[in-house]
């Protein structure tokens, strides 16, 4: 089946891309690896007037350590390149996050920016257009109806990024460029509770880089999924801590693939930060998890399962962390 009709544009540099983005009236979708955008165009969920290819912009490349130690990852870097880079391998939890995405085939194409901006997923919306026609449109396609969760007046599609939890555990920020210049947004503030407008990226902006401070924290990363290859996660966890053994004070725990955004578990992390990684503290922390997650839906897996897998993963990750 052919893709929906659109204009294909591939400017040579960032400036021209930003100008195209700012000066085009119709809807534009950014194309990097294509593994998510083309999938959604095939399903007629995306019907852009213009497909703007940013896959080879030199300004989006590069993996480097800045003078102050900050690690800078180009948003256009492919996941295969990232997971194998010596600088990334100094952060094994992050490398695991890159490696967790889909399959080698997809990682050879997909980019860092693409994964962080992955469209949210739902068993209703991510079907073929013909399949969806039986029930009609939904919040994602312009109608105020959610077919996945009947009572919902907001899109609850899941954020399925495997990379975001790992980067959140590293306290990463993203740099967004527009014709007006660059702005830096904490990744923790980047996602929203709305599955449709699920990031704060404005339509005239392109994500150019991801930054995180140099650190020697430990990180545990687990993707819970049906099969190792190619599957989206039931849930993903990234947990980082300073210190060693049971001793730690700075702790970050992030759960992914459970809601429209990755969730930073602040209270849970505080318990560990105050009490350390002994068995009793871990159990005390686990009891905080469900409340911190807020409302969960029966999307893909039952809400009860989501709450349970979240607690199991937090315990598992903290126990792993202790051994790192």
């Amino acid at each position: 089946m052919l893709l929906p009709d659109h204009e294909f544009s591939k400017p040579a540099n960032l400036q021209d891309s930003l100008a195209k983005l700012a000066n085009t009236s119709g809807e534009i979708k950014l194309l990097a690896g294509g593994t998510d955008v083309i999938f959604n165009m095939r399903g007629r969920l995306f019907n852009p007037d213009v497909l703007l290819s940013i896959s080879e912009l030199p300004e989006l490349q590069g993996i480097e350590q800045l003078a102050d130690g900050t690690v800078s990852l180009g948003a256009g870097c492919r996941l295969t390149e990232l997971e194998r880079h010596p600088l990334v391998r100094q952060y094994p939890g992050l490398a695991a996050g890159f490696r967790a995405v889909a399959s080698r085939h997809v990682r050879n194409m997909a980019t860092l920016g693409g994964n962080l901006n992955l469209d949210t997923r739902c068993w209703y919306a991510n079907q073929t257009a013909e399949w969806r026609e039986a029930k009609g449109r939904c919040l994602k396609t312009g109608l105020k109806v959610c077919h996945a969760i009947k009572s919902s007046d907001i899109c609850v599609a899941l954020n399925a990024s495997d990379v975001a939890p790992a980067l959140l555990a590293l306290d990463a920020s993203v740099v967004l460029a527009s014709l007006k210049g660059e702005r830096t947004v904490k990744l923790a503030d980047y996602y929203t509770d709305d599955g449709v407008e699920h990031t704060v990226r404005r339509p005239d902006e392109i994500m150019v880089r991801v930054l995180f401070p140099k650190n020697s924290d430990r990180m545990a990363y687990i993707k819970e999924t049906a099969r190792k290859g190619n599957d989206f996660a039931y849930a993903t966890i990234a947990a980082s801590a300073d210190g060693q053994g049971q001793q730690c004070s700075r702790v970050r725990i992030v759960l992914g693939s459970l809601t429209t955004r990755p969730v930073l578990l602040l209270k849970t992390a505080t318990v560990i930060g105050e009490r350390g990684l002994d068995d009793a503290a871990i159990e005390a922390a686990v009891t905080e998890v469900r409340d911190e997650l807020g409302a969960l839906t029966n999307l893909y897996t039952p809400a009860a399962y989501k709450g349970r897998i979240a607690r199991v993963l937090v315990r598992k990750a903290l126990l792993q962390l202790r051994e790192l």
Partner: protein, 161 residues
């Protein structure tokens, strides 16, 4: 219609093609329908099955169904038809025959191009390398055991030379 066709240069298996391509066509559409190399198959078209796998100019496995053809302007790719050189089958193709790593054959082009990428990436792939490189391509009849035996055979041959 919004999408203007564009003149595109593409090198497939060492042969240069100049074509008028629509933005609506994926790389897979061009390879199969425009160039007529139908060895590359269309499967799920959603990135799950891997039967549309080709190799890019770095010899890596990529999915031709999930990328617009125009993205490949001026690039070189290898498809299943490019594995055979001057009538000689590729070492992997011979190994697949020897080990019976083919049953219905529909996924075989994708499996072979994925396997080729594993060997390209590391002439001496470890068990982990093989699993990693082959997880993205599905065979629902032969299974993956014989396929892995064939790849290991080529890898061990490489290890000796």
């Amino acid at each position: 219609m919004a999408g203007k066709r564009q003149v595109m240069m593409l090198t497939i298996n060492g042969d240069d093609y100049e074509m008028l391509v629509s933005p609506r066509q994926t790389l897979l559409d061009v390879i199969r329908d425009q160039v007529g190399l139908t060895g590359t198959k269309e499967g799920c078209t959603t990135g799950s099955c891997g039967v549309c796998t080709i190799n890019n100019d770095r010899g890596e496995a990529v999915l031709s169904c999930l990328t617009p053809a125009l993205e490949w302007q001026g690039k070189a790719i290898t498809t299943i038809e490019g594995l055979e050189v001057n009538g000689e089958l590729d070492a992997l193709q011979n190994a697949f025959l020897d080990y019976g790593a083919v049953q219905c054959g529909f996924c075989t082009p994708g499996v072979l191009m994925s396997a080729r990428a594993v060997i390209n990436g590391s002439g001496r792939p470890s068990e982990e390398d093989i699993n990693d490189g082959m997880a993205g391509v599905l065979c629902r009849c032969t299974g993956h055991i014989k396929v892995k035996e064939a790849i290991r055979n080529v890898a061990s041959y490489n290890n000796k030379t």
